[in-house]
Symmetry: C2
Subunit: 354 residues, 2 copies
């Protein structure tokens, strides 16, 4: 029954996030969360903000956090936009930069929220096929289009493109906005942030959910030319005056003050990823080169769905999609060494039992 | 310069919230915040949530908070939707329930975010004139329309309508969704929540920003028929999987466990409002009957803009709009007794000096 629903709402097929079990006894490798706790500086800032001032609205312009982000990335505050997680930031980008009349482009295998945003805002889009090894065919993203969205590293493959390739995309699309979704960039890819001053059509989106271990806080941000950031502000201020609460603002700023911790946990996760990838290859898995905090793997003999179910029986959650091209792959978040050891042992049992 | 902006973004006129000064030395009566601190139970719940689990995403379905709200309002959890402040909830309602082809109705004098939401989503609307005393002409809200939005009590007038009037609106619009924005209901109006089981076209929107003294936490909610709530979920899940962070979820649930405190502070604020209204009337002001935590006042001799500036010089922030019909009114948030005393003294000085 969809009586009273708007036409748009009736036709939506919402995004489905990975499961968030309410019990804590799972090895949870399904939503690319960080296995390490947030920075103590973030937690201390949150506790300090949990007081009387919560009766007051937050700063709608998020001035202090934007200043801290600008300092971190060597930009001006007017080149920084913050939002309630990078999903919200991306949604606002789709509204701010894309028009229904012109087709936007993104890969056929990528973050599956992009087509959902496009449908929500009535935008037409084309899913450009990646090559057989999930590489980005640059030439197919150049030419007449209404905008380009890529994730670097890409999800769920983990594959990264070079800054040189990003430049090619930017120079090949001088009339369109190119959004580079860098949710996972801190785990080993090159950020496009240094290109911002050279390309007025570049928007870089990042998040505090992954490398900063703050998925529960909901803070994402966009970096780009001041003119593009002004468009995001205009849309945001027509939607919700105060998208970040005082605790998220305080915690995010606390996390930015702890660059050493960011480097320590991202290096640790990258090193865990690399040994786990080697081990899985030796077990017979195809493992794509990942610059992210997850691995995208496929076994020549055992279907991914069978592995998904078998892992679940053994208390391990990973992610699988019933979709063309990737239905024989699992995406596995890089956890702690112990969690990855448990994963490898569980997969070994299944392979040996098969 | 609006190069690269979408057509929609170019045409937006964003909502302007009241000023949030970064210094704390103002008497801040401009954004209808609560002068009393949040419940200690809310603050304790937030501090308890500020730990390791912030590395994990929140529950995208906000199950625990929705259960607590359902218990509070004697509804089922499937009749409850929660969002990142009632502005977000209202924006999602406009997307979920209204179509561009059918004109929606709201009063000419009301929360000025409604026309902004309509423009953002390309909806046509008609602003129905309130009567001379800012009363709601019920008959003008019945008949062919694509939806009705009213605030009860209304902003910025503070005037409330009865449940009987709400029933008339619901029964007169069986084909349209009627949104009743009850941001200020706890200060003295009748809530329409008891009508939810009888009217499949009713959506009630409330917030924790005002009566619960949690404007800094960003929690709003919608209550209605399960079918309407399902539409909101569909739109929300096509926009942002996790709109509430773990701290907001925890704090809101903590606040709900403290009904005694809610009653104590809302009664105190209502009583302060009533004496301040009497005092202002005796000073010569026209003061509309307010069921909210603010007063809407006008002086026969001194223009509102002059009073606004004079109060600002005296360290007191209130709200004024340069808009038809209301440009000679000030909206003044009800603060503590001391703050209202200071307000009355400042206004007395100005009147005597005029």
């Amino acid at each position: 029954m969809k009586e009273f629903w708007s036409k748009r709402a009736r036709d939506l097929v919402p995004y489905t996030p990975g499961e968030q079990p309410r019990q804590r006894n799972w090895i949870k490798l399904n939503t690319n969360e960080n296995p390490y706790p947030p920075s103590q500086k973030a937690l201390a800032a949150i506790r300090a903000a949990a007081g009387e001032t919560l009766r007051l609205y937050p700063d709608p312009e998020c001035t202090s956090l934007r200043e801290a982000l600008a300092a971190t990335f060597d930009l001006k505050p007017a080149q920084v936009f913050v939002g309630n997680g990078s999903d919200e930031v991306l949604a606002l980008c789709f509204q701010a930069f894309f028009d229904p009349e012109r087709t936007i482009l993104f890969p056929d295998v990528t973050y599956s929220f992009y087509p959902v945003f496009a449908d929500l805002y009535g935008l037409s889009y084309r899913e450009v096929p990646l090559d057989e090894r999930f590489g980005l065919p640059l030439e197919s993203f150049v030419g007449d289009n209404g905008g380009v969205v890529i994730a670097n590293p890409n999800a769920p493959t983990g594959r990264a493109v070079s800054l040189c390739d990003i430049r090619t995309l930017l120079e090949g699309n001088p009339e369109s906005v190119v959004i580079v979704d860098e949710a996972y960039v801190d785990f080993g890819a090159q950020s496009a942030v240094p290109l911002i001053d050279s390309y007025p059509n570049l928007v870089v989106v990042q998040t505090m959910s992954k490398s900063r271990a703050l998925a529960g806080l909901r803070v994402g941000f966009a970096l780009g030319n001041e003119n593009l950031i002004a468009a995001l502000n205009s849309v945001k201020n027509s939607f919700n005056s105060y998208t970040l609460d005082r605790l998220a603002l305080a915690g995010a700023e606390g996390a930015l003050r702890d660059g050493d911790y960011l480097r320590a946990i991202t290096m640790k996760i990258s090193s865990t990823r690399d040994w786990a990838a080697d081990r899985l290859k030796r077990m017979g898995f195809e493992v794509s080169d990942s610059a992210a905090n997850f691995l995208f793997i496929s076994h020549p003999d055992i279907p991914a769905k069978v592995l998904l179910d078998g892992l679940r029986e053994r208390g391990i959650l990973v992610r699988w999609w019933d979709k063309p091209r990737i239905s024989n792959y699992l995406r596995i978040t890089v956890g702690t060494d112990q969690e990855m050891e448990a994963l490898c042992q569980a997969l070994t049992q299944m392979i040996e039992g098969a």
